[in-house]
Amino acid sequence: MRFNIKQVNCGSERIGSLTGFIKSSKTIIETPTAALLTQGGSVVHLTAEVLAKVFPDTQLLWLPLSNSVQLENGVKAQGEGVAKFAGLPKHVICATLYNINEIVPPGHFELGKLPLWTKNGKKMITADKYMDLMETFKPDIILAASDGRISLNEKPKRIVKSVERTIALLDSCINKYKASEELQQSSLVGVIVAANIPHKCEECIRHILKYKETLVGVALAGLTDGSKESYEISLDKLKEIFSRVGGSLPNDLLRIVEGSWNPAVIVTAIEYGWDVFDGSYPIKLTNKGHALSLNFDVYRYSGDPCIMDLNDIRYNEDFKPILEGCECLTCKKHTRAYIRHLLNTREMLASVLLSIHNLHHFNEFFVQARLHISASTFNIYKKHIITQYENINPKLDNEENKTAPALVQDKKKIKVRIDDNVKTEVNGTIIE
C-alpha cells in the first residue's frame, strides 16, 4: 500500500490518498478519513449485505485482534486472509492489537508478552505470535504491537515502562516483518506512546524513525485506556500534543490516531496533519442509543445539539427522520419515534438503524473536511464543528462507554440460550 499527499495547506492540514492495495488495486481511499470498526471481522451491527447498501465502495476497516483472534483457525484453513473470511473480500483492513475502547483490567504484563483480552479471557501474546497471526490474517496495514493502551495521566513510571516495552515490541515486529515475504505484502505502522512526556515521546519517535524506510506511517496511542476519565482531556492539551508530535514527524508518513475521539478533537488533529482515525466514535454513540447530527453548513448554525439521545421519551411521537435532509437509508425510511420504540423494546434493529445513520453521517463529516481543505477553508469548518461540541450537554458526549441495551439483553439471552436450546433440539433434529 502507498500513501501519497496531494495537498498540504498553510495550516498543516492535508489531503492524501491510500492506494496500491493488493486485492483491490483500483481503490483510492482519500484522507483524512476514519476506518469502520469491526468486531469478529464484521463491521459492528452490519452484515455484508447491509454494509454494501450503506457504502457500495471499498472501505477501510479497523480490525482489533482482541475481538477477532478466534477467527485464526478458520482464516488459516481458507488461506486468503481475514477480509475474505469475514465475508468482506473487497475491503481493506488495518489490523491492530486492541480496540483501545475496550475497558480491561490494568497491568498483567510478562516479560516480552502482552495481555490480549478476548471474549474467552486473557491470552498472553508475544510480538512474534502477533506477527504470525498477521501473516495469517493478511491485513493491508499492520499496527506494530505496542504497550499503547494507557491514559495520558498515567504515573510517569508506568509511561516510561510503556516506552521501553513499545520500543522492544517494535524491534521484534520489524525483525519478523523483514524475514517474511508474506508479511511484506502488508504495510507496517509504528506506534507512538508517552505523548505527555515530551522527551520520552521523542525517544519513541526517534526509534520509530530508524525504520522509516520500512514503515508506511505512525499511529498515536497512549492517550487513553478506554476509560471515561482518560477521555477527559482538554482540547487545548490535545491540540498541543497533535501539534508537537505531528511537527516532529516527516511529512510523508501516514499519521493515525487511535481512540474514540469526537469530531471536535478530530478536526483539531486534522489541522496538524493527522490522517486516519479508528472509527470507534460512531459505534460508541450507537451503543448508547445516540445519533450524530452535526450541522455542516458553516454559514448557518441553528444551535441544535449535534448529538441526539433517542432513548428520550420526547421522541415518542416524533415522526421526523433523525436528521432532515440526511441521505442515509435510515433517514430516508425510518422515524425518530420508531427508533425510540426499538431502543425502548431493546430490539436489535435499533443498533442497525443507528449504525447506518451514524456511520453515514460520520463519513459525511470527513467528506466535508476534505472539501474544506481543498478549498482552503478548513479553519472555518474546524471552528464550526468545535462550536457545536462546545454547545452540547457534556454528559451526552462523555458518558461512560456503556453497552447498548440491545447488546446487554443479548448477553442475557446467550445465558438463557443454553437451556432454551434443549427445547429447540427437541423440535428439530440437530445433526451431529
Binding site: 422515524t335 434493529l349 440437530i430
Partner: protein, 393 residues
C-alpha cells in the same frame, strides 16, 4: 370482500393441498405461505428491504406487545403499524390473548374477557374481545384475529375445554360486532376444541356460519403428541370452507409444514426459525446445524450449498462458527438464512402443487429428512390419509 380475496390457482389432484393468491389491502400473498413473527414491529435486526429480498409477503406482529409499546396512540398517529415500521407488504396480528395467558401467570379468564395485572405498573386490566379488536384496528394489520379463550393443548379437563371452545364462539360474535374497519381488515375466527373431535367439529361448524374471509386453527402445537395433532388439523380443514384461507397457528418446523400443506392448510406462523437463529442454529432439510460445534471451525462450505441467500453467498460455516452467539451480526446472518429456508420450502411446495408434482415432492422431501427410512408413524398416517403412501427408496 374488499379486505380479502382468495383465488385458488391449483388444487393437488391427490392431496388436499392447494396454491392460491390471497389478495390483501397491502399485498397479494401467494399461498401456502409461512409468516415470520416480528413481535415488536421488527424482525430480529433485519431491515424491511431485507425481508422483501427474502420474499416475505406477510409478517406477524403481536397485539399484546404492540398495545403496550409503542401503544395505540403512537400507532394511530403514525398511521398504523405498516407506516410505523416501514413495511409496505401485508401484516397479520394475533389477538393478544395467547400471549397474555402464556406470559402472565396472573391472568384470569371470565366471560367478560382476560383479566390480568399489567407487568408494567401492576394495575389490573381487562382484555375483552372488544378491546382486542380496538387495538388491532389501531395497528391496522390486513388480517386480525378474534380473541379466543386459550387452554393449554394438553389440558385433559373436558369441562374446561368445552367452556373455552364455546366461549371462543361467543367472543367471536363480540369481535365481529366491535370491528370498525371491515373493508380494510379481515377477522379470522379461531377453531378451538383442543384434541377433542366433537368439540373441534362443533367449533369449526359454528364458525362456518359466520360472515368471515378466512379461518384460523388454534389450540394446537402446544406440546401434544404428533399422533394427536394431525387428525385435528385434518378434521378442521375437512369442515372449513374450501374457498377461504386456513391458517394453522404456531407451526413452522419443515416436516410439519409439508404434512399440513398436504392436509389443506394455507398459512403458518412460528417463532422457530428466528428463535433458533439466535441460538446459533441454521435450518437445512435434514434438521439444523448447530454452528457452535467445534467441527465447523474450519468448515469452508456455506450453510447450504443450494441456498442463494446473502448469508450462504458471502459466508462460510467456519466464519459463522467463530462469531455465533457472540456478535449481533451472527444473529442477523442466521435469521436471513433461516427465513430464506422457510420461504424456499414454501415456494417449492407452491411450484410443485402448480406443476402437479406435489405428492412426488412430499415423498422425496420425507426421504431427505429421514434418510434411513425410519418415518415417524404420524408422518406415514397423516400422508396416507390424503393419498400419499410413503415408500422407502
Amino acid at each position: 370482500s374488499a379486505a380479502l380475496r382468495f383465488n385458488i390457482s391449483t388444487e393437488c389432484k391427490i392431496t388436499k393441498a392447494r396454491s392460491a393468491v390471497m389478495k390483501l389491502p397491502h399485498y397479494d400473498v401467494k399461498t401456502p405461505v409461512f409468516m415470520p413473527v416480528g413481535t415488536q414491529g421488527t424482525m430480529k435486526g433485519l431491515l424491511p428491504e431485507q425481508l422483501e429480498n427474502l420474499d416475505c409477503e406477510i409478517i406477524l406482529g403481536n397485539t399484546y406487545h404492540l398495545g403496550n409499546r409503542p401503544g395505540t396512540d403512537v400507532l394511530e398517529k403514525a398511521g398504523g403499524l405498516h407506516k410505523f415500521m416501514g413495511w409496505n407488504r401485508a401484516l397479520l396480528t394475533d389477538s393478544g390473548g395467547f400471549q397474555m395467558v402464556s406470559l402472565l401467570q396472573l391472568a384470569e379468564i371470565t366471560e367478560e374477557g382476560v383479566k390480568f395485572k399489567s407487568p408494567y405498573d401492576g394495575s389490573e386490566t381487562m382484555l375483552t374481545p372488544e378491546r382486542s379488536i380496538e387495538i388491532q384496528n389501531s395497528i391496522g394489520a390486513d388480517i386480525i384475529m378474534q380473541l379466543d379463550d386459550v387452554v393449554q393443548t394438553t389440558n385433559q379437563n373436558y369441562e374446561r375445554n368445552k367452556e373455552a371452545s364455546e366461549r371462543t364462539s361467543r367472543w367471536l360474535d363480540r369481535c365481529l360486532k366491535a370491528h370498525k374497519r371491515p373493508t380494510e381488515q379481515s377477522i379470522f375466527p379461531i377453531v378451538q376444541g383442543l384434541l377433542n373431535n366433537t368439540l373441534r367439529e362443533q367449533s369449526a361448524k359454528e364458525h362456518m356460519t359466520k360472515d368471515v374471509n378466512g379461518f384460523a386453527i388454534g389450540g394446537l402445537s402446544g406440546g401434544e403428541a404428533k399422533d394427536d395433532f394431525w387428525p385435528m388439523v385434518s378434521l378442521s380443514t375437512g369442515i372449513l370452507d374450501k374457498n377461504k384461507p386456513r391458517y394453522l397457528m404456531g407451526v413452522g418446523v419443515a416436516i410439519d409444514l409439508v404434512v399440513c400443506v398436504a392436509l389443506g392448510v394455507d398459512m403458518f406462523d412460528c417463532v422457530f426459525p428466528t428463535r433458533t437463529a439466535r441460538f446459533g442454529c441454521a435450518l437445512v432439510n435434514k434438521g439444523q446445524l448447530s454452528l457452535k460445534q467445534k467441527k465447523y471451525e474450519t468448515d469452508l462450505n456455506p450453510i447450504d450449498k443450494d441456498c442463494t441467500c446473502s448469508t450462504c453467498l458471502n459466508y462460510t460455516r467456519a466464519y459463522l462458527h467463530s462469531i455465533v452467539t457472540v456478535e449481533t451480526v451472527s444473529c442477523h446472518l442466521l435469521s436471513v438464512h433461516n427465513i430464506a429456508y422457510q420461504m424456499r420450502l414454501m415456494r417449492t411446495m407452491r411450484e410443485n402443487i402448480e406443476n402437479g408434482t406435489f405428492p412426488a415432492f412430499v415423498q422425496q422431501f420425507v426421504n431427505e429428512v429421514y434418510p434411513n427410512g425410519q418415518y415417524p408413524t404420524w408422518v406415514v398416517n397423516s400422508l396416507s390419509s390424503v393419498g400419499i403412501n410413503l415408500c422407502h427408496l
